[in-house]
């Protein structure tokens, strides 16, 4: 049963964890060549970038006082060439980085998606689908830029810092110390604000996901909302969720934006200190032997200090981005870490072509610990036998059917087909041979033909149509505007429940299963059609094992064996005649229907 709804945050216990970045790094590693390329390009750019103030310094300190116009122009042109070189290199780097970023996102999304395909019903049943969607799409998009550029940029900024440090030291070691003095203040600020930053960003991610989940559900359930005139109330709830999102968004932003002013203030403090110390403490270093104040040197130092704080400010931004990415990565990895509850055993073998012998050996099953749904069920079914499952709703009929395809693992006991324990065979080889018609006939967007072909992808149009004919869906399909190529919409909006079931039926038929399972498959099909459908598949069913859950006793009666399920146990089992003779629960059920019919008969007289 579900554990999460739209207004419940999916809390994470995991602490701030570098491990996650290690994992994220795996995605980056695949493009290590490109990343290395970006890195090299960037190093060159940085070195070139450092040349610029030097050129300026030469021009101002030497060529202008020397009145050497030729050199001023030459160096000016050099400066331009350096700049254009930088721009072109940057462009090249961006080109790579966009590719890398998009590739990482695409890979990561593929991984999540592939993992989602392995997750069992329980995963999907236990949370709003909008929340899963947000992770696959939005969160993954949000980490792209950071993963492509964040790591490199961080390293580069550090390197940049060290380069500048080197140049500063070369220019004036004493002033360099002054510049460095501002650093600890900034680090202290980061350490103090970190826990709050992280919390707000996590909250924000949570609230976003809640909002999307609620929106998605309301889009899908709009008709129900309207039918119950709940629009206003839901609007209120949505506004509430939006408000929460806004609150935490702004809180995160207040702190995040605080980073820059902090560094800007420190930077200015440092600048002031450079002038003051340069003039009052280290004045001897700045007066040339002929008594002229060496302006170029001190302006260069100021420029270097700005350049030194530049990377620090940018590292601050990267850090903000990192916190965001962290919040998203945690959610993404949470999906990837979701254990696959039903998976192939390590030594699983392919199930060979089966005859259709089924055995339930003392099966205990519970969805939730301590609440058994099936209590030690055992039975044998011979190949080709048809079994009807009857009993009150929620007694465990659908569960038996779900276990047959191993949609869930048995808690205790075993399910065997042709003597193979289902836990020991590969899921694919098993499910390929089962034809399951679920209660909820899901229709994909596409065409009706596509939906039928879902049963067997290599089926020709003729085969699809033949299947539709067999279940008597052909007639209504041909009636539609574009026949088999009529577009179906998400969930088959516009088709009636009965029509959806017929398409679903054709789909199952096309898959040509060895064991056929019909779970309330025809409940919404009108009786005439159902009768025809059953005639159509009766021949096909011959020789195949089948399990049928139905409420119409006329359908049930013709099965080889009827099992009456009650409260997770097989209360009765036998042919119709046998069960009628034993005058138990089935007898009671049958007689009540019979009595209804007698009423009808009497009224008719």
């Amino acid at each position: 049963m579900a554990r999460n709804k739209f207004n419940v945050d999916e809390e994470l216990e995991a602490p701030f964890n570098w491990q996650q970045f290690k994992r994220a790094f795996v995605y980056v590693k695949r493009y290590k060549g490109m990343v290395a390329g970006m890195f090299c390009i960037s190093i060159v750019t940085i070195l070139l970038g450092l040349l610029s103030p030097k050129i300026q310094q030469w021009v101002i300190d030497r060529f202008i006082p020397d009145k050497n116009i030729a050199l001023i122009v030459t160096f000016g042109v050099c400066y331009l060439l350096v700049q254009i070189g930088i721009i072109l290199l940057n462009r090249f780097r961006s080109k790579i980085s966009i590719r890398v970023g998009q590739s990482i996102v695409t890979d990561m999304r593929t991984d999540i998606y592939e993992h989602l395909q392995k997750l069992g019903f329980d995963y999907y049943d236990s949370r709003p689908h909008g929340k899963i969607l947000t992770r696959v799409i939005n969160y993954v998009n949000s980490v792209a830029d950071f993963l492509a550029n964040g790591f490199i940029n961080a390293i580069l900024e550090f390197l940049n810092m060290f380069f500048i440090l080197f140049f500063m030291l070369a220019t004036s070691p004493k002033l360099t110390l002054v510049i460095l003095a501002g650093l600890p203040v900034f680090i202290v600020y980061i350490i103090i604000t970190k826990p709050k930053q992280r919390r707000f960003r996590q909250k924000r991610a949570n609230k976003q996901s809640n909002t999307t989940a609620y929106l998605a559900e309301n889009i899908n359930g709009a008709k129900v909302t309207q039918a119950f005139s709940r629009e206003e109330m839901n609007e209120g709830i949505y506004d509430g969720l939006l408000g929460e999102t806004r609150k935490y968004y702004l809180r995160a932003v207040y702190l995040g934006h605080g980073m820059w002013p902090m560094s800007a203030i420190i930077m200015r403090g440092v600048q002031m200190a450079i002038y003051l110390t340069g003039v009052f403490v280290f004045i001897d270093d700045f007066i040339s032997p002929d008594g002229i104040f060496q302006l170029g040197m001190i302006t260069a130092m100021v420029q270097y200090s700005n350049r030194f704080w530049g990377p620090i400010q940018r590292l601050g931004n990267i850090y903000n981005q990192l916190l965001d990415t962290m919040a998203y990565l945690e959610r993404i990895f949470q999906v990837l870490d979701e254990p696959v509850s039903v998976d192939d055993a390590p030594n699983a073998t392919d199930l060979p072509d089966i005859n259709g012998e089924v055995k339930f050996d003392n099966v205990l099953f519970e969805y939730e610990k301590g609440v058994p749904v099936l209590r030690h069920v055992s039975f044998d079914v011979a190949a080709g036998e048809s079994i009807a499952l009857v009993g009150p709703t929620g007694a465990g009929k659908s569960t038996i059917i779900n276990l047959l395809s191993r949609f869930y693992n048995v808690t205790e006991g075993a399910v065997l087909i042709d003597g193979h324990d289902l836990n020991d065979v590969t899921l694919k080889s098993l499910r390929k041979q089962m034809g399951v018609m679920l209660q909820d006939s899901f229709i994909f967007s596409g065409t009706i033909m596509d939906n039928i072909r879902y049963g067997r992808l290599d089926a020709t149009d003729e085969e699809c149509i033949a299947a539709a004919k067999a279940v008597h869906a052909d007639e209504f399909i041909r009636h539609m505007e574009k026949g088999y190529f009529t577009e179906t919409r998400e969930r088959g909006d516009g088709l009636s429940a009965g029509q959806k079931q017929l398409i679903n039926f054709a789909r199952t038929l096309l898959s040509d299963p060895r064991i056929l399972i019909l779970d309330e498959a025809t409940s919404s099909i009108d009786t005439n059609t159902e009768q025809l459908v059953q005639e159509g598949i009766a021949a096909l069913l011959k020789g195949r094992t089948s399990f049928i859950v139905a409420h119409r006793l006329s359908t049930i009666k013709n099965c080889d064996r009827i099992m009456y399920i009650e409260a997770g146990r097989i209360a009765e089992s036998g042919s119709h005649a046998e069960l009628m003779a034993s005058k138990g629960l089935y007898y009671k059920l049958y007689m009540s229907q019979l009595n209804q019919l007698r009423d009808i008969a009497e009224q008719a007289v």
Partner: protein
């Protein structure tokens, strides 16, 4: 137009944006003033070595710096607040509009697309208001400020410098033109990707049952890779023009250096002037570089805003009447007068006439696709008639206030939709303040109390989206309880007990009959047992009422109903006679 629309959503928060922009201007002024002070420090303090003036001048520099920083910080915060207000209001308005839309709208719009419009497209508005807008103002002001300062120092020099700006403008315009469609394509693809994933998630049972994981992955990969391609393509456009704009900006810097240097040599400006020029160079450079980015982001915003606006201005095809003529009392009398309904060329209902008395129970049967659901959907106006009239208590449903109309109709739908919330919340969906006894009562009538109480958390159990995790019969019964809890004078049960066993069904029917206030009830079903006790049964075929009457009358008619009855009970009938 689009801009005005977007800004309009800020409401009173627009003053914060205005303040933010004012602070931005102040910030630019402070930022421009800073180099002046430093240039004065060079010229008046350092060069003449009059160091006693250094400290006061530095202090004023820092003061100005702090003003600049404070402006920037509060500008950012105020901008974010204003943008968040707009985002909040737009999202809220979009949601309201979504709640008004009819089934036709939801059938033609992919849900992934709708979600995208409400989330990431609106997000672009946020970025536009709080970042792009102030940056535009800042850029223009910076250019103007720099221009004034440069002109005052030396106008010839300035003219030479500014000779390159038109080139930037031309490239910027080109960028604007080509970038928007590229981003629109990428967004469109995102919504396609969204839809594939969403369908995969909600259809996960079918995917597993048919072992189609590989096929689904393939399908997904196609969209995923295409999204990647389009994203890269959209970004590459920026890379095509961005560097040109950047290069033009650096030409300006170089000219600054060369022209300035030469002018100092020729004694037309002082070295201090040149330092000033050089330190103000960013004021020219930044806007020049920024213009590309701003154009890019503005176009992205426009691409998104158009989508958002499209959704916001979508009219619903089921409209509120101009005048609310909802009658005071609700009795539950329904009348279909010559009602026809068609979807395009497909005729669904064909001149249906039907009068239903208050408190009457009507059973509706007919072949798959004969128009049963369409017929009942006309009453709460989920669809509107193509011709004819549907009357509730003597008033055309089109003249009812929609909410009041729908509050008088309790309905269960074929495709049961439960919200991922507790069982209780689902049952009280229509009447949120219903006391618990009433909830249990409704559940008992729907024969759902038994299994609900057996669940570990009882009525507080959270059911999955669409009620996943519950059996079909359980879902149907919760949905029935939900409709009953509403206590409406008209109750429509569309295929509500198809997955419920017959005994339970009988119990439900009995309980429904014993309800204090007898609602007018319409029951759509395929099972004879579901409708046989109805006061009247109608048989729809191909959009027409072909048979009508009580069970006995229809049995005597020996038509569709009789045949169905025989088919369903035929086997037993043999035994009755045996």
């Amino acid at each position: 137009m689009t801009f005005k629309w977007a800004y309009g959503w800020m409401g009173n928060y627009k003053w914060r944006l205005v303040l933010s922009i004012v602070l931005n201007i102040l910030g630019v002024v402070a930022m421009t003033a800073e180099p002046f002070i430093f240039s004065a420090i060079v010229d008046d303090v350092l060069m003449p070595q009059q160091f006693d003036k250094l400290l006061p001048m530095l202090c004023s520099a820092i003061g100005v710096g702090c003003i600049f920083i404070a402006c920037r910080y509060f500008q950012a915060i105020l901008g974010e607040q204003a943008a968040q207000a707009a985002v909040y209001n737009v999202r809220s308005a979009l949601f309201k509009n979504l709640m008004k839309q009819s089934g036709g709208f939801y059938a033609t719009n992919r849900s992934g697309d709708l979600i995208n419009k409400c989330s990431s497209d609106v997000e672009m508005m946020n970025h536009f208001i709080c970042w792009v807008t102030p940056k535009w103002v800042e850029m223009v002001l910076m250019l103007v400020a720099a221009l004034i300062v440069f002109f005052r120092i030396n106008w010839q020099y300035t003219l030479i410098l500014f000779a390159v700006t038109p080139f930037s403008a031309i490239v910027g315009a080109k960028l604007a033109k080509s970038v928007r469609p590229a981003f629109a394509d990428a967004r469109e693809q995102l919504s396609r990707l969204n839809t594939v994933v969403q369908e995969n998630i909600s259809g996960n049972r079918v995917v597993k049952a048919f072992v189609r994981e590989d096929y689904e992955i393939e399908k997904f990969q196609k969209e995923n890779q295409e999204y990647k391609r389009l994203n890269i393509q959209a970004n590459m456009i920026w890379l095509k023009y961005g560097p040109i704009i950047d290069s033009i900006a650096s030409v300006m810097t170089v000219m600054n250096l060369i022209v300035g240097g030469v002018m100092v040599v020729l004694d037309q400006i002082t070295l201090g002037d040149l330092t000033l020029f050089l330190s103000l160079a960013w004021a020219l450079n930044e806007p020049m570089i920024l213009v590309g980015q701003l154009v890019n982001d503005t176009q992205r915003f426009l691409a998104s805003a158009e989508k958002v606006m499209g959704l916001y201005y979508t009219k619903t095809d089921i409209e509120q009447p101009i005048k609310d003529s909802t009658p005071e009392t609700a009795k539950g009398e329904i009348e279909f007068k010559d009602v026809s309904l068609s979807y395009g060329s497909l005729k669904v209902l064909d001149h249906v006439d039907l009068h239903i008395n208050p408190g009457e129970t009507i059973g509706i049967m007919g072949p798959t696709g004969s128009g049963k659901t369409s017929l009942v959907s006309l009453i709460p106006r989920f669809i509107d008639v193509s011709s004819g009239e549907v009357m509730l208590d003597g008033v055309n449903v089109k003249n009812y206030n929609l909410q009041k109309l729908r509050s008088r109709v309790g309905m269960t739908m074929q495709d049961v939709f439960l919200f991922s919330d507790t069982v209780e919340s689902n049952i009280v969906y229509g009447v949120p303040d219903l006391p618990m006894e009433k909830v249990v009562e409704a559940a008992k009538v729907a024969d759902a109390d038994g299994f609900i109480s057996q669940m570990p958390d009882g009525y507080d159990t959270i059911v999955g989206e669409r009620g996943t995790g519950l059996s079909g019969g359980q879902k149907q019964r919760i949905s029935l309880a939900r409709a009953i809890a509403k206590g409406a004078p008209v109750l429509i049960l569309d295929d509500t007990t198809s997955a419920v066993d017959m005994e339970t069904e009988t119990a439900i029917q009995k309980a429904l009959g014993e309800l204090e206030t007898q609602a007018t009830t319409l029951i759509i079903a395929q099972r004879v047992s579901s409708v046989m006790h109805a006061d009247r049964i109608i048989i729809l075929d191909d959009g027409k009422i072909v048979e009508q009457g009580s069970h006995n009358e229809l049995m005597a008619l020996k038509g569709y109903y009789y045949n169905t009855c025989i088919l369903q009970h035929g086997v037993m009938e043999e035994e009755v006679s045996a």
